[in-house]
Symmetry: C2
Amino acid sequence: MRAWLAFMPAATLVGRELDRQLKEDTGLSHLQYEILIHLDEARQGAMRMTELAERLVNSKSGLTYQIGQMEKAGLVTRRQCEWSKSGVLAEITPEGRAMLERAAPGHVDKVREILIDVLTPEERRAIAEGLGRVRDRIIERNDGEACW
Amino acid sequence: MRAWLAFMPAATLVGRELDRQLKEDTGLSHLQYEILIHLDEARQGAMRMTELAERLVNSKSGLTYQIGQMEKAGLVTRRQCEWSKSGVLAEITPEGRAMLERAAPGHVDKVREILIDVLTPEERRAIAEGLGRVRDRIIERNDGEACW
DNA sequence: ACACCACGGTTCAAATTTGAACCGCTGTGA
DNA sequence: TCACAGCGGTTCAAATTTGAACCGTGGTGT
């Protein structure tokens, strides 16, 4: 029960804090940053919309919106998937990569500062294990059903 | 780092799942449920807006909005604070308490099901301790500054 | 009593999120 | 080849969130 009382507030606070730092330093929202990270990691720097949405734990329509914003800002492009006429690839642009390079160091520092460094090694392990399991359980449970 | 990769997604998923269950079973959002809980626990069943906002880790304007909605729904009332002409108390109504009684069992079950029961006792302890510390650190760090 | 600044809440417009409806593809079976 | 169910994305309106500006009070110092 105490775990519960710590978990959600901590998540909210950490999220808010990171959002703030990113927005202040780079103008990016946390979600936009995550989008860039995922695209940057993908081979070709591109990914299907739906897959991206799933990895980000975000709704499809929400992603459409954000990609729209980021396209305006020149950070990503939309491109048709080669082998399927429906199907859209979001691709990171050079500007997007540049932005990421500018944003990443500060962001990573912040994560360390407010989360990682506050935890003992074995707390980190417990969180990685335990919450990882929590996450996977929910994902897998929802997999059969309709998505958001 | 793995802790980080588990933490935020787990929080998002758990939040979404609870929101869904509550909305489906009772029509309440998670935030509204939390509001009722906090008011119900307060003596007199009432609390100052700002204090409530702080406890909920929510913005003041957001709270104003939600209390407005819940007032329309008859779950809470607004009342002037006795000893201060500015200052508003949000108070839970009998309907609000009834709603809470209807909502609580299912909600608590869900929390156990998707979070508590998935964790080992010592993971729970580590999360309570560690994330509790994370939470308190951020709160206290922000205390001096302007709030949201 | 007066000037002022901080506090408690609300308001307002803009940004974002949500969920359902929709539209053009895909591929599967008759 | 012809439905037709289901997927991938987008659109749309409605709900919510955000952050800054604002308004009346409270307390402080003079």
